[in-house]
Amino acid sequence: MSSAEDTWSPSALQRERDAYRKRQGLRSLLIAGLSTLVVGGALITAVVSAPGWERTRTTFFNWDKAVESFPAVLAGFWINVQVFAVSALCVLIVGMALAVLKTLRGPVFWPLRALATVYVDVFRGLPLILVLLLVGFGVPALNLTGVPTDPIVLGCVALVLTYSAYVAEVFRAGIESVHPSQRAAARSLGLSGPQSLRYVVLPQAVRRVVPPLLNDLASLTKDSGLISVLGAAIDAVRAAQIETATSFNFTPYVVAGALFLVLTIPLTRLTDRAARRYGAVPGGGHL
């Protein structure tokens, strides 16, 4: 216990150590700053002095064109945001359901388990663009009544089909990383199987997989741009394409890219924060 009359002041040795650390820190900072300046400067000089720079600047970084195309691209981007939000929610729900199905034990659940396994194998193995084209053009061609033909809805369906397969595996890894003794402890208290899963296993599993999960979601934001292959949906990428086609100026693509970054970079920062907050949940119940 330290008392009020604790009048510690650092010894000469400690003061010397502190001074040394401070000098070292300053030196590192100086070296880092200088090398960044040198490398950055070299890169900028290289790009700007390139023979094609003037043309690149006018075709990709044309301010007037950027301002002009911004409203259309932004309107398209709003579709991306909606597609992302809806798909992400469905992906989390379907992925969790698949993961739980895959971890069910006992012969009674064999058909469900097999179904979930086949689903994951198939949709994790198919390229997303293929699923998009098959669902986006195949489903309307069936001419079924009651089945949506809106390309945006079908695009979401394709994204959910593919991404829920990935997310299911992430959740399953989390569930299996929870030590069996946790389930045993829950059951011994009288909790039923589903209750043990709901209150003991899943909360620990989800916290452990927050970082890889947000990684998949960041990837989903970008792939929401792929629904533009279905044509009719004018999302940010498609809007940029239309703007470009009229003027042969590629600036709208840069605008669309910047908008995606505005969405994905905060998501990545959020991932890091969440990983620090939840990812470090102690596990297992062992010493």
């Binding site: 003794s181 402890a185 059951r187 011994s188 909790l191 209150y199 003991v200 062992h286 010493l287």
Partner: protein, 248 residues
């Protein structure tokens, strides 16, 4: 049969290795029965079978006169009448001490959150950990964690408590506080089945000591007899090894 717990001709195997064979054991109400035996002799397996965490191959386990190995009984209900405490505590790391204790009352017995909380705090006060109610298990010492684990299994008001080497994972100076809790429980009349290597504790607290060997109870008797003048060679060998390890 009037025993609180009656086990008859129990058999349990994992694959080809038979852990318990023709195993029989009675535990009367308010009795403390201590199980001793070499590592791998099946103490943990027996306790897990009694708590229905394992399905048995054959035989009968009766709790309060009812066969609980019958597949028609509600296993969750049986488990909530038996408390078990494990060697490795197995607290839920994502829940606070208080939530660890109130989880079963709230979810299994439908106790309102406020009442569950009050009861949990009373239990925590008894084990001297009321001030740590909002801490997470990882911020507690091993001895404190094990006391919380015992408190957690007590809030269900079990009729039988099972302890599986609850002090084996603890530093020597923390063993005492956990054993003191077991002594308190005995003085309150709790029926207990305790697997342990703490021979001193067995001597003081046990009504009966059972030596497990070869899948059954090889020797059973008062602690002074089994630990002092064992009749079986295997028991003598086991005790000699324990003495050599400095645990008696």
């Amino acid at each position: 049969m009037s025993a609180l717990l009656g086990i008859e001709n129990l058999r349990k195997s994992y694959g080809r290795s038979v852990v318990l064979r023709d195993f029989s054991l009675d535990v009367d109400e308010h009795d403390v029965v201590v199980l001793i035996g070499a590592s791998g002799s099946g103490k943990s397996t027996l306790l897990r079978c009694i708590d229905l965490l394992e399905t048995v191959d054959d035989g009968v386990i009766e709790l309060q006169g009812r066969d609980i190995t019958d597949p028609r009984v509600n296993a969750d209900e049986v488990r909530s009448r038996i408390g078990i405490v494990f060697q490795s505590f197995n607290l839920f790391p994502h829940l606070t001490v208080l939530d660890n204790i109130t989880l079963a009352p709230r979810k299994v017995h439908g106790v309102p959150a406020e009442l569950a909380r009050e009861r949990a705090l009373v239990t925590l006060e008894r084990v001297g950990l009321k001030d740590r109610a909002d801490a997470y298990p990882d911020h507690l010492s091993g001895g404190q964690q094990q006391r919380v684990a015992i408190a957690r299994s007590l809030v269900n008001d079990p009729v039988l408590m099972l302890f599986d080497e609850v002090t084996s994972a603890l530093d020597p100076e923390l063993v005492g506080e956990v054993l003191a809790m077991l002594r308190d429980l005995k003085s309150e009349g709790m029926t207990m089945l305790v697997a342990t290597h703490e021979m001193g504790f067995a001597r003081q607290v046990a009504d009966h000591v059972c030596f497990l060997d070869g899948g059954r109870v090889l020797e059973r008797g008062a602690p002074e007899q089994v630990l002092g003048e064992p009749t079986q060679d295997r028991t003598r060998q086991f005790l000699r090894r324990i003495i050599e390890a400095g645990r008696l």
